[in-house]
Symmetry: C2
Subunit: 128 residues, 2 copies
């Protein structure tokens, strides 16, 4: 399970952590956010919506809803499903899906980098 969405025992050991949970709001919907990005990454890893959903503790129904929202919000689908076979359908990210993931992580990287000085000030006023 990714560290994108929840505090973990590990973050405790590392000291304070600043999380960048970016959200893209488009036509009154969340087109992209930490949950959807976590799901996309899991689908990429597992090659299936059901396995991807399971790996991040999400129901299959919920995963399908998120995929539908994303596929409808961008100029083309981010995830393509290939049905059939005795193992159930497989799923994969489209080139646009890969591109969107890359841009999202780039946004986080650049935000983290720009925040270093102010974050060090905020860390200092946290309890030891």
């Amino acid at each position: 399970v990714s560290t994108l969405n929840r505090p973990s025992a590990r973050t405790h050991l590392k000291g304070p952590v600043l999380q960048f949970r970016l959200r893209v709001i488009h036509k009154s919907e969340i087109a992209l956010g930490p949950g959807k990005v976590e799901l996309l990454t899991a689908i990429q890893t597992h090659g299936s919506i059901s396995k991807g959903a399971k790996s991040v503790g999400m129901s299959y129904m919920r995963a399908w809803t998120l995929v539908k929202i994303m596929n409808g919000a961008f100029r083309g689908p981010l995830v393509i499903v290939e049905r059939g076979g005795t193992q159930g359908g497989s799923a994969r990210l489209t080139p646009l899906g890969h591109h969107v993931l890359e841009l999202y992580f780039e946004l986080i990287k650049q935000s983290q980098s720009a925040s270093k000085t102010v974050w060090s000030k905020l860390r200092k006023v946290l309890k030891k």
Copy 2:
């Protein structure tokens, strides 16, 4: 109600919006995040935890829990309550509370600024 936490009809009219929902994780707790920052701002405006909570649609119990977590996570309290009076107690932000709010908004500002180029790329692949 602030735009920090939810998509609104207004963001629809303006086109896609990139929200920076920053979280400070400290000792396995969320020391600061969009909900707590919204509450702090409301307490600052209304001079009371109950009125502040009401203005952001939060229960008094929930607001108290968030204030306790914040006051316990930083080197000193962010909110001070002055009890008594027939109108119920009033509350205000400490100088540390003001400082923390300023740093949080500064983090968002700098992140937004650093993200401009990549965000314009991401906007372009959203459906018109």
